[in-house]
Amino acid sequence: MTEVAYIDRPSRALYFYAILYLGFLYIPVLFLPMFSFNDNIYIAFPLKGFTTKWYMEMFNNQPMWAALNNSFNVACVSAAIATLLGLFGAKAVTRYRIPGEKPIIFVIMLPMVVPYIIMGVALLILITQLGFDLSLYTVTMAHVLISVPFAMATLISRFEGFDQALEEASTDLGASPLSTFWRVTLPLVFPGVLASFLLCFTISFDEFIMAYFLAGTDPTLPIFIWSQLRFPLRLPGVLALGSLILVVSFVVVFFSQWLRSYRVEKTQPGI
């Protein structure tokens, strides 16, 4: 006799599968921090002594800091723009009856599935034809384009989660539509806004293909790292940086997922 319902009983096979799956997912990634502390210029087994000198070297690598700074700026700006566009888009889609709504949503969501290399080439042709110089601005623009669908998807689910009567109650009490947006809509979708920003930030931060096509002379971090791979001497420094980014990304993604689910049920008016 057991008190656990059949469906809740632990399954040995399932545990095994889960462990295998997690191992497959994360063991390769763990090589990065491991070698970043290895006292050897070559990335190879057996491991030698423990060292933090690659981290020291990394801190003194000026071009790398410049690339990191570029990436950070591009990611911040493109995430902010994409989230803002996503906010208006999600509000429009969920709050108004728009003629041709379905096709419009389809077109907005399309960049999610179009291969980045295709979009990268297309944008490159467009931008050079228009006579613009390639720069971090063009990269930012491209990143906005690919981030908007993710921002929309995140925010639409948030908008659908709260009762439209709340916005009506606000106008009923004397608030103009703009005031209602600030005092009711935005506070209630804010966790979604934050989650969307973080998601778009990470999308932009590690995006390589489009940045490679569209960046001018200023490289973003992925481009810089890729260019360093040709120099074995620099590789351990890159590993150190990669390890740091890994940690930060984990924290950011985890935080954004937590925000996404955070108290959705509590922001709905219960009966």
Binding site: F162, D163, A165, L166, E168, A169, S170, T171, D172, L173, G174, A175, S176, P177, S179, R183, V184, P187, L188, K266, T267, Q268, P269, G270, I271
Partner: protein, 367 residues
């Protein structure tokens, strides 16, 4: 400014959603300080009408006037109305105090005055000390009061309530009905109250508009609706009613002589024009206006023999269902449990007498 009788006035108001006609050419007026109810079955357009009054929907035809001013060009946030939503719509990110104070910002009221009014409003709805709670920390009845206080604190000319008691259990509902009525009398604000519960409408209202399919069938006081319905539909919707078909044989001195199915030759007061010699009409009578007795009564009431089919015990009264030769449907007869009307000698299956006073017969047109 207008006279008090047409404080709120609807002229030919309709609302179409595509091919759906939600509200169909309504015209009536509501006086200042009334407790006015919109009563009707689900989907008859009550909410739609209320939303047009609040400004969330604009009428397809017609115009709404509040205190003499046409409303069609006035957006919701500038209307002199406030609404209590069906699901209360209390802002979940604000506490009760901030919810109540929400609308006062737009009335340019000083901070100290806002605080004073909030406390006063909490006092009024019997929720002092609840200021710091969030909506998820309130019971259904408490939420309803917060929603009410949040609307009343704005001191609107007209308060709109969309089935505010719908989510409450029967006991709390009856308590809140009494409180609502007392509150309305003390603040003197015009209430427009939506409900599909006829008992609730009869208890609360000064006047009721009975609606079906977007139309107002009758607008009258609860007493008039009950005693003088204008159609079979209204009579059927308000309380219980027995109907029999009849033909008018003669009309004389405000009295009609009728040949009614099963009841034979009867007389009834006739005041409407449709009661004309030869017309086919419907005779209606309330269950509690019918009398059962073992012997034929000698006081000159109309009477017919019948047999008792079944009875139902309803606590304060018994309902007997009796069949009369020639009538398809049995008559419902309500007899107060210990009222003067009750006759202990009534026996099932035995033949008894069904009697009525002529004045209690209601004549209705055939649809």
């Amino acid at each position: 400014m207008t006279s008090n009788n047409d404080f709120v006035s609807l002229t030919d108001v309709s609302k179409h959603f595509g091919s759906v006609v939600a509200v169909d050419h309504l015209s009536f007026t509501i006086s200042r300080g009334e407790f006015f109810s919109l009563l009707g079955p689900s989907g008859c357009g009550k909410t739609t009408l209320l939303r047009m009054l609040a400004g969330f929907e604009s009428p397809t035809t017609g115009e709404i006037y509040i205190d003499g001013a046409p409303m069609s060009e006035v957006p919701p946030h500038h209307r002199p109305t406030n609404m209590v939503f069906q699901n209360y719509a209390i802002f979940p990110h604000l506490n009760v105090r901030a919810n109540l104070a929400y609308g006062l910002r737009y009335d340019k009221i000083e901070k100290a005055e806002v605080g004073r009014r909030v406390e006063e409003a909490l006092e009024m709805v019997k929720l002092p000390g609840f200021g710091n709670r969030r909506s998820n920390e309130l019971s259904g009845g408490e939420r309803q009061r917060v929603a009410l206080a949040r609307a009343l604190i704005k001191r609107p000319k007209v308060l709109l309530l969309d089935e505010p008691l719908g989510a409450l259990d029967k006991k709390l509902r009856e308590e809140m009905q009494l409180e609502l009525r007392a509150l309305q009398e003390s603040v003197g604000i015009t209430f427009i109250f939506v409900t599909h519960d006829q008992e609730e409408a009869l208890t609360l209202s000064t006047r009721i508009a009975v609606m079906t399919r977007g139309k107002a069938l009758q607008v009258a006081s609860p007493k008039d609706l009950y005693n003088h319905p204008v159609s079979v539909e209204v009579a059927d919707f308000i309380g219980q009613m027995n109907f029999v078909e009849a033909q008018v044989m003669d009309v004389r001195n405000g009295e009609a002589v009728l040949d009614a199915t099963g009841l034979g030759k009867i007389t009834a007061p006739a005041s409407s024009d449709f009661v004309q010699k030869g017309a086919n009409i419907i005779v209606a009578i309330r269950p509690e206006k019918l009398i059962l007795s073992a012997e034929r009564r000698s006081d000159g009431l109309g009477a017919v023999q019948c047999t008792i089919k079944t009875s139902a015990y309803l606590g304060d009264r018994d309902h007997f269902y009796v069949s009369v030769d020639g009538c398809e449907k049995p008559f419902a007869v309500a007899i107060a449990e210990t009222g003067a009307n009750s006759d202990q000698s009534l026996d099932r299956q035995s033949i008894v007498w069904l009697s009525w006073a002529d004045e209690s017969l209601i004549l209705l047109p055939r649809d």
